[in-house]
């Protein structure tokens, strides 16, 4: 089983440790992972801004990089959802469709494909889980609070395997953080207010860390936390699941 590691552009540039943790974690679990070095981005920043028609060369590059793998795995729910929903090709739609069907966000890859039941991980901290909207309502990583349906949560399923970790509560279990891609710039005031309110929900329940399968939400909240000199930190879920000693 050959796995192509897709590391989204901003994770590659700004959060390499989350990417390293993803790679190490998959290798620890016995997966044959490699990173195609010519990858760039899924094209979502353009598409969500209304410029999906400019993403064809991005799409073609993505297909070229990842066609040869059995699975594509990425530590970012939002980018994975974008590929699943919008990766198309004029030249080779069959190849595009194949990738749409074999791309997985890291958490769902661990629970649904590798079906792991235990982890050798330790993270003795109080952790608040931020459900990224694209992971939640797009990839169905957990049950959505609006629906009348049985509860489940793939991220929690994994976090519960981590020694010492305590998941803190939230008043609003799956409210959006307000990042929203270019929304965070175009609608700065509302975006920041949404982020502040998410953070308050986590901190008032005692979270020391806020984690998520999406770094974009975390990057936005980190910016607000740091501006306010908060002690609360953000951490990608891969870094927690890969944490074998008390180094955090």
């Amino acid at each position: 089983m050959k796995i192509g590691l897709f590391i989204p552009c901003y994770v590659n540039q700004l959060y390499p440790n989350a990417a390293i943790a993803t790679l190490e974690l998959l290798q620890k679990l016995g997966a044959d992972v490699s990173y195609p070095s010519k990858q760039t981005c899924c094209g979502q920043p353009m598409a969500n801004s209304g410029y999906e028609h400019l993403t064809q060369s991005c799409n073609d590059l993505f297909i070229e990089n990842f066609s040869g793998f059995d699975y594509v795995v990425a530590p970012s729910a939002s980018c994975v959802l974008h590929i699943k929903d919008h990766l198309h090709s004029h030249a080779d739609e069959k190849a595009a469709a194949a990738i749409r069907g074999k791309i997985y966000e890291l958490v769902e890859f661990l629970t649904d494909v590798l079906k792991i039941e235990k982890l050798d991980a330790c993270f003795p901290h109080k952790v608040g889980l931020h459900q990224s909207c694209h992971g939640l309502r797009g990839l169905h990583l957990a049950q959505m609070s609006e629906l009348v349906a049985p509860d489940f949560s793939k991220p929690k399923q994994l976090l519960n395997m981590v020694k010492g970790l305590e998941i803190t509560e939230l008043d609003r279990v799956d409210e959006c953080c307000g990042f929203g891609g270019l929304f965070c710039i175009a609608e700065e005031a509302v975006s920041v207010k949404m982020g502040k309110d998410r953070i308050t929900d986590h901190t008032k329940h005692g979270a020391e860390y806020i984690t998520s399968p999406d770094l974009s939400c975390l990057m936005h909240m980190e910016g607000i936390l740091q501006r306010n000199n908060s002690k609360v930190k953000i951490i990608h879920i891969a870094e927690i699941l890969n944490c074998s000693s008390i180094k955090a």
Binding site: Q27, S34, S49, C58, R137, S145, G180, F183
Partner: protein, 458 residues
């Protein structure tokens, strides 16, 4: 009016008063929670949503036939029927009905459509006085402001502000803000309005093609009061309000009030069918962009909307920006997908006033994929040329960078170098990110660079 500002600017102004934002957000979240409790107590909630969506799909696909069936049954029941292509035609029809009877005062209840058509202003210019009898709409009317929410028109106003308005317009004691006392004053005032108006206009929640009856849902009973006391009863409805059969009300009435405010059903679900002796009934079927929407396959599902307002209550952007920031009669997520169909240039900003979180689509009782439509409207708006040219320029630059691994690597390196060595180039007031957020820490090397050195070893 704040006519020229876009959603972002109006929302920023709303956010100047953070306590008010918290209060507004909390009030609407409380309603969302009531909706959740109510949905969870309803057996087969998700199946009901599915059924409602399917019934409306059938309506949209066969609208022509259902409308003719409805019209024939209305006529059989003795109701006069009119067809209006747009707001102007609608307003002319209403004006003609009233002036033929020498009526110069009318009472109106809960009709978003006539708000969209600016009927009150049209009739006022022609010497006809209209009073909105729904309490929230009445408050908005005396404040000369459009509704900020389709179900809760003055949800953005605090009770003290309403007290102040009543003091100014109805002569209540200064400082009176007790909701019960204020409601009593309004009730007394409106009671007199009901007793003296010869004409009453209502909106329509559901129009039953099979029987030619229409159903109006209110909590205040104001539609009934108006209709029962008047000699000329008028209803205005958008073409999409049709349902095929009366039994389908069993689906929609169970969903409407629960989705709107978490109430099992509205206090009044009034069926109007035939004029009583001596009374006239008129019904105006209004297109106003509906058939154009029907012609847009990507967007026609928005015609399923039953105007519950659930998407507004759940939308974090709506809750934290206020309905008036949408500068459109119908605000919130549903407004943002309906408005571009009517005037794309004027409403080009609205589909971007969303994080695409998807909560709206999940609460929608007729399962309109609202956030998917927001995404699709963005594509249409850009293609039709309604986005800023500097945005197009930066998007093209981004597309070029991201389609070339070499340029991307250089750009990433440069970006990180700037963050490390010249942060002042980014951390300044021209960068909206930096206004209330720190920039991310910039690592020495990207993952790609790390992998090139260590990848084979790991």
């Amino acid at each position: 009016m704040k006519g020229t500002q876009d959603h972002a600017a109006l929302a920023e102004a709303f956010n100047k008063d953070e306590d008010r934002v918290d209060w507004h957000d909390g009030a609407l979240w409380w309603i969302r929670q009531k909706r959740d409790r109510s949905a969870n107590q309803t057996p087969q909630w998700e199946e009901l949503r599915e059924a409602a969506s399917a019934i409306k799909s059938n309506v949209i696909s066969n609208l022509h036939d259902y409308l003719l069936q409805f019209e024939a049954n209305l006529k059989r029941n003795g109701v006069k029927v009119y067809w209006a292509a747009d707001a102007e035609e609608h307003n002319q029809i209403i004006h003609k009905i009233l002036s033929e009877k020498n009526i110069n005062q009318m009472v109106k209840s809960k009709s978003m459509l006539t708000e969209e058509c600016h009927l009150n202003e049209y009739l006022a210019e022609r010497g006809i006085d209209v009073i909105n009898s729904d309490l929230g709409e009445y408050i908005q009317q005396i404040d000369n402001e459009p509704p900020s929410h389709i179900v809760l028109p003055c949800i953005h106003k605090k009770k003290e502000e309403i007290g102040e308005l009543f003091h100014e317009h109805l002569g209540t004691e200064k400082g009176l803000s007790d909701p019960t006392l204020l409601t009593r004053v309004a009730r007394k005032h409106l009671r007199n309005v009901f007793m003296t108006r010869r004409a009453a206009l209502t909106g329509v929640n559901f129009a039953v093609a099979e029987t030619g009856e229409y159903v109006v849902c209110t909590n205040e009973g104001n539609a009934d009061m108006g209709a029962h006391l008047c000699e000329v009863q008028i209803a205005s409805m958008g073409l999409e309000k049709i349902i095929p059969e009366r039994k389908h009300l069993g689906v929609f009435l169970r969903l409407l009030a629960r989705s709107a405010i978490g109430q099992p059903i509205t206090i009044y679900s009034s069926h109007f069918r035939k004029p009583r002796p001596g009374q006239e009934m008129h019904l105006v079927l209004v297109d106003k962009g509906r058939s154009a929407l029907l012609a847009r396959p990507d967007f026609r599902d928005s015609l399923k909307c039953i105007k519950c307002g659930g998407c507004m209550n759940t939308c974090p952007v709506y809750r934290k920006s206020g309905g008036l920031s949408y500068h459109n009669t119908i605000s919130g997520p549903i407004g943002a997908i309906l408005a571009p169909n009517l005037d794309m240039k004027k409403h080009a900003d609205l589909p971007f006033a969303s994080t695409l979180c998807g909560s709206c689509s999940n609460v929608c009782p007729v399962k309109i994929p609202i956030h998917d439509q927001l995404y699709k409207w963005r594509q249409v708006i850009v293609k039709e040329g309604y986005s800023a040219s500097r945005k197009t320029f930066s998007m093209k630059a981004m597309a070029l960078t991201l389609s070339s691994p070499e340029i991307y690597k250089t750009a990433g390196k440069t970006g990180r170098w700037i963050l490390n060595h010249a942060p002042f180039a980014i951390n300044n007031k021209f960068n909206p990110w930096y206004k209330q957020r720190e920039m991310p820490d910039s690592p020495k090397q990207s993952f790609g660079e790390w992998y090139a050195k260590n990848g084979s070893k790991s």
